[in-house]
């Protein structure tokens, strides 16, 4: 098609548009919805751990929660930032999300090594991983749907970050039900394996769903 004709078509098609909400607002909106979804699913699907009251008074347990939720918020913000082309701060948020995840995992690895624990495959661990993935799928799907209207310039990466953001909330919720606090159990089955899987799944889905 000739350029002049093409430009005329674009001009004729012009309609007023509502600009996107600021990315921080989009990210926090998703985060609140995701927490509500996961909390509801967790409440109905999984029994609370017997020692929850005692655990809630432990600083390390609360710190673990804060860390995970912070990673989730950062990853959600990174997705929202990537969805606005040319916006500064995208790389910083992407790096911060993955870096914080790495630091958090390293803390558990260090604690496990200090205690002389061993890595291993256990049925309970696989169940924990499956639970995190199950809990995360719905909020992740919602985030994908929400991000379709955006213009992600890195669709695969956005998908991975959606997986990370959802998975960390799932891991936070599972901490309310799973009473196995061994560092390597948490490292393997609450963090590395489920989050890695969700990131890979998110990457593949992102390349399909968020391409425009």
């Amino acid at each position: 098609m000739k350029n002049e004709k093409f430009l005329d078509q674009l001009i004729n098609d012009l309609q007023p548009v509502k600009t996107f909400a600021p990315p921080i607002q989009t990210a926090l909106y998703w985060f609140v919805i995701a927490v509500l979804i996961i909390a509801t699913l967790d409440f109905f699907m999984m029994p609370l751990r017997a020692d929850l009251a005692q655990k809630l008074s432990e600083f390390s347990f609360i710190l673990q929660w804060i860390f995970l939720l912070l990673i989730s918020v950062l990853a959600a913000m990174a997705v929202s930032w990537i969805g606005r082309p040319g916006r500064p701060g995208q790389k910083l948020l992407i790096n911060a999300s993955f870096l914080l995840m790495g630091v958090f995992s390293s803390i558990f690895a260090a604690r496990g090594l200090q205690m002389g624990a061993h890595l291993g495959c256990e049925f309970g661990g696989v169940r924990c991983m499956a639970a995190i993935i199950m809990l995360s799928i719905l909020p992740a799907a919602f985030f994908f749907w929400q991000s379709r209207r955006a213009a992600s310039v890195y669709p695969g990466l956005s998908g991975s970050l959606i997986g990370l953001a959802s998975g960390t909330i799932g891991a936070t919720a599972l901490a309310l039900s799973c009473d196995d606090d061994k560092p390597f159990h948490l490292l393997e089955w609450h963090l590395v394996f489920p989050l890695l899987l969700l990131c890979v799944m998110g990457f593949l889905a992102g390349r399909k769903v968020l391409r425009w």
């Binding site: 430009l7 509502k18 606005r84 082309p85 213009a151 310039v153 425009w212």
Partner: protein
């Protein structure tokens, strides 16, 4: 911004002007859109040209205009993602960059198909035409699997096009091309053995 002070100021003024136009475009102002598109078109064309120059081995120049239109369409459909509080030009270039990369990826795949069509098939066709008359073509074809034989007969003996063969068999065009390629490879190795 880099460059001499005067240039930076000019760039900044240009940025402000375009940003203001874009704000009006988001409100649905036709005149602003017309003015903005003309300016953005020049920028996008230049960006695409530079990108094509850098990747000149991978793309065909004829696609340059298609890509420019594709980018302009993307700017049109995603105009709600521009935040008026942010710079306009980085938004345009980020979208252009994304579209160019996407195009290069797609064209790389497309080029792979072109190689298969134009190089492999032509060479093998020549090989088949040069086969001595003493070789029983029908017998050779019988050595092929059913699908390969049928498709090869359609395209090489009956003279159907790839698209026609795809339509008749219900397979995709790329499937037809690959099947022919494999069939010819098999025939070639059978001939060598004989």
């Amino acid at each position: 911004m880099s460059g001499p002070k005067g240039e930076s100021l000019a760039e900044s003024q240009n940025e402000q002007r375009l940003s203001l136009l874009m704000r009006k475009v988001q409100e649905g102002d036709f005149d602003s859109y017309s003015a903005l598109l003309l300016e953005v078109q020049v920028m996008v064309e230049s960006y695409v040209k530079n990108s094509f120059y850098r990747f000149r081995n991978q793309v065909v120049d004829g696609h340059q205009q298609d890509l420019v239109q594709d980018i302009l369409l993307a700017l049109h459909t995603k105009r709600h993602t521009y935040d008026p509080s942010q710079y306009f030009l980085p938004w345009v270039y980020a979208i252009s960059r994304y579209k160019v990369i996407d195009f290069l990826r797609t064209s790389k795949r497309r080029n792979a198909h072109v190689e298969l069509d134009e190089e492999e098939l032509v060479d093998h066709s020549a090989l088949i035409e040069n086969v001595p008359a003493t070789i029983d073509t029908a017998a050779m074809l019988k050595t092929l699997p059913e699908k390969q034989r049928k498709i090869l007969e359609m395209v090489k003996l009956e003279g159907l096009s790839i698209a026609e063969a795809a339509k008749r068999t219900g397979f995709s065009q790329s499937d037809i091309k690959i099947t022919i390629h494999r069939a010819i490879k098999t025939l070639q190795s059978n001939l060598k053995r004989q």
